[in-house]
């Protein structure tokens, strides 16, 4: 009973928030609605008993990704309204629905054919976090380490790309501009 109430409430809230995200013309409204939708999605994880996943969803998405977007938006001109593509609405909605139905077919194909076996069943008596740790650090240890290296690479790439002078490209400049830039650098070094 309570599960049904919670499911329908959060389903409605999540759909409403994401609908605002894709339709509003203000980038700040889109950002705020997306952050709210992420928090509401973590409620589904808590309902489903995936407590650790719900906590990670709140920390990583709402804490890290949304903060990163908020800082990134300070670089852009976000106060003006966003222009939209002028396309055929029926084609867009039709293609989206078709692709979404195909996603459900992908997920439900093994279920319908009853070809799904629990390879890593939940251990009774242990909490969700303990179960996740057991599977993550035995069977999925190598992907876990690879994901850690990937996050490190992404962090270095983000710092380097957002750093100073990265908007200048020596291949796109002509000789005079490069000479002028070198002179400025020399001036700074000498002074």
């Amino acid at each position: 009973m309570f599960e049904a109430v919670a499911f329908y409430l959060f389903a409605f809230l999540t759909i409403a928030m994401f609908y605002i995200t894709v339709t509003t013309s203000q980038a700040l409204y889109a950002l705020t609605a997306l952050a709210a939708g992420m928090i509401f999605i973590s409620a589904f994880f808590f309902i489903l008993g995936a407590d650790f996943l719900g906590a990670v969803q709140i920390i990583v998405y709402t804490g890290a990704v949304m903060a990163l977007y908020a800082f990134g938006m300070m670089f852009f001109d976000t106060t003006r309204a966003v222009k939209e593509k002028k396309g055929n609405k029926f084609i867009i909605v039709g293609l989206s629905t078709l692709a979404a139905v195909m996603v459900v077919a992908i997920f439900s194909a093994p279920i319908v054919s009853e070809n799904m076996v629990a390879l890593y069943p939940v251990i009774e008596g242990a909490g969700n976090t303990q179960n996740v740790g057991l599977v993550l650090f035995t069977k999925y240890l190598v992907p876990f380490e690879v994901a850690a290296v990937m996050l490190l690479v992404a962090m270095v790439a983000g710092i380097v790309l957002a750093g100073k002078k990265m908007d200048l490209s020596l291949t796109l400049m002509n000789g005079e501009e490069i000479d002028k830039m070198n002179e400025e650098i020399n001036k700074k070094v000498l002074s």
Binding site: L34, L48, L53, Y69, V82, K85, S96, F107, A154
Partner: protein, 102 residues
């Protein structure tokens, strides 16, 4: 109706995925396009967690974790590239990103 099963979650995942795809197709601003891709990744995460719960298997949750990790690194690199593009050209509209036209 009152008993929430796996199908409920899969239908919800479909609706959210369709919303995200509509966003991907109608947005021209690249920052808002990123928001739409986040919606796509989140809708698939719901399906993974639901299947993981109803079949008593933890593999779905593991995949959801890796999807979250990939989304985080995608945002870091994507925003860095977007900032470089904005510094150089002054806008982030998709229609202006065609420097290789013949």
């Amino acid at each position: 109706m009152m008993e929430i099963g796996l199908n409920h979650y899969l239908v919800l995942s479909t609706i959210l995925f369709a919303i995200g795809l509509v966003g991907v197709m109608r947005r021209k601003n690249l920052l808002l396009l990123f928001f739409a891709t986040e919606i796509l990744l989140n809708s698939v995460n719901i399906a993974f967690a639901a299947i993981s719960h109803y079949y008593g298997d933890l593999t779905g949750q593991m995949f959801a974790f890796f999807v979250i990790a990939i989304a985080a690194s995608e945002v870091a690199v994507g925003l860095g590239l977007l900032i470089v593009w904005y510094k150089r050209h002054g806008n982030i509209d998709l229609s202006t990103m065609s420097s290789m036209r013949g």
